[in-house]
Amino acid sequence: MTLEAKNLTFRYPRQKAGPVLEGISLTLRAGERVGLSAPSGRGKTTLCRLLAGWETPQGGQVLLDGAPLPRRGFCPVQLLWQHPEEAVDPLLRLKTTLYEAGPVDRSALDGLGVRDSWLERYPSELSGGELQRICVARTLRPELKILLCDEASAMLDLVTQARLWRFLLDQAEARQLGLLVVSHDAALLERVCTRVLTWEDIAAPRRA
């Protein structure tokens, strides 16, 4: 499995200024753990949204093994959102959120330390870290190939952060997942990734 971004251009609707992304290219293979760091406001999150199929680029393509991402059904490329409290429906019990797209592996829940009592509650009754672990659990379906982690551990304390990454690395190793780790934390990227990219590595040089 290879996720390829080819020469992406993207602007948000009704946006006056130039495009957010221009000439972005990136290749991510299964089993690979790629780190990406760039200054704030460069468009890292927007790039993740495009790669996960949340948005459609105006120019260029996002290809998974040479084919566009599926429009319906489970998408093999999933995004771990930076703010877990925004990634779950505030009016639903977490049980519903966790199981709404299908069964979830019991061992994943245990590995992440998700307690059964959390699932009876509403999102406002859990902390960001607890919610993020539930979000990780629901994306880890057998069909998952590529996981995009957009500052996915920034809201966690160091111990929980370490546990989450240990778990994700084990999963990535065992299932040959491709990981894209977006973070400002250079030490984290150094520790977790097989290679680290900067924005200059993925953006085409601007024409003068």
Partner: protein
């Protein structure tokens, strides 16, 4: 000891709903009495036997007022339900489908909103042959627009939320998205909107009937009662217009109260105030 605000609000809601149910029932039961003429007691001012007085045919004004309000309630319920359903379907469709469907629906909304309400109601009522169904169709077909616009805006906003995109990319079906995610979020605004349609519908029904384009004169509708009493106001029979008019205002206020309370109860932002 004061109960908490949620409880008092709930009690008030139940009380108001009870009054409305009782009103529509008694009106239905009094339909016979309301049109029974008795010339031995015509033009009576309010007295213990007939608290709202009697008219020039000796008909009991209390019975007529109650029957009229009950009729108004039925028109209100039907139109609110019909326009609410139209608003929900069209508003959701516009936002969910986007593109030309959205443009078309928004254009129709603007079109209907652009024509003065009362004119459109009269036209539709006439085209549908007046009477109960004419008025109901007229009010229902003109009152869905603002609610549809509200629903459309709400769905557009929900579509952009990370949690909805997340659920979609996790493969949740469209019907499940609608059922589990969109409807629960729409429900508070929608219910409040539907309830607040009631007073509009009732007032429009009364005014169209008053102008002579609505319900037929033999029916004891509030509009008919008010229109007939006009002729007698100058001769000093104030009770013919005062009590039915006052009851209409009270009914409308009651609905506005229910709608407002419901909004306070259901809206998460206001519930904690």
């Amino acid at each position: 000891m004061r109960g908490n605000r949620r409880k008092t609000t709930l009690l008030l809601l139940i009380f108001a709903a009870g009054v409305l149910c009782a009103l529509s029932l008694t009106g239905e039961l009094l339909a016979e009495t309301a049109s029974a003429a008795d010339f031995s007691r015509k033009n009576l001012p309010p007295c213990p036997a007939c608290p709202f007085g009697t008219d020039w045919m000796g008909r009991d004004m209390l019975a007529r007022t109650l029957a009229g309000l009950s009729l108004s309630l039925r028109v209100g319920a039907l139109t609110a339900a019909a326009s609410g359903a139209v608003a929900l379907v069209l508003g959701t469709a516009a936002a969910a489908l986007g593109g030309w469907a959205d443009a078309l629906i928004s254009w129709v909304i603007d079109l209907v909103m652009g024509v003065p309400h009362i004119l459109l109601i009269i036209l539709i009522s006439l085209a549908c042959g007046r009477g109960f169904w004419g008025v109901t169709a007229g009010v229902a077909l003109t009152h869905w627009t603002s609610l549809a616009r509200l629903v459309r805006g709400e769905v557009l906003q929900l579509k952009e939320t990370p949690w909805l995109r997340m659920s979609r990319r996790l493969g949740v079906s469209r019907s499940a998205l609608l059922r589990n995610h969109l409807l629960p979020h729409l429900l508070p605004q929608f219910l409040t909107g539907v309830i607040l349609q009631f007073p509009h519908a009732i007032l429009h029904e009364a005014s169209v009937t008053f102008l002579g384009f609505g319900l037929p004169p033999e029916q004891p509708a509030t509009g008919i009662i008010l229109e007939e009493s006009m002729a007698y106001l100058t001769t000093g029979r104030w009770w013919l217009a005062l009590f039915p008019g006052l009851s209409l205002v009270l009914l409308v206020v009651l609905f506005a109260l229910i709608g407002e309370r419901l909004r306070l109860l259901l809206s998460p932002a206001a519930a904690q105030e």
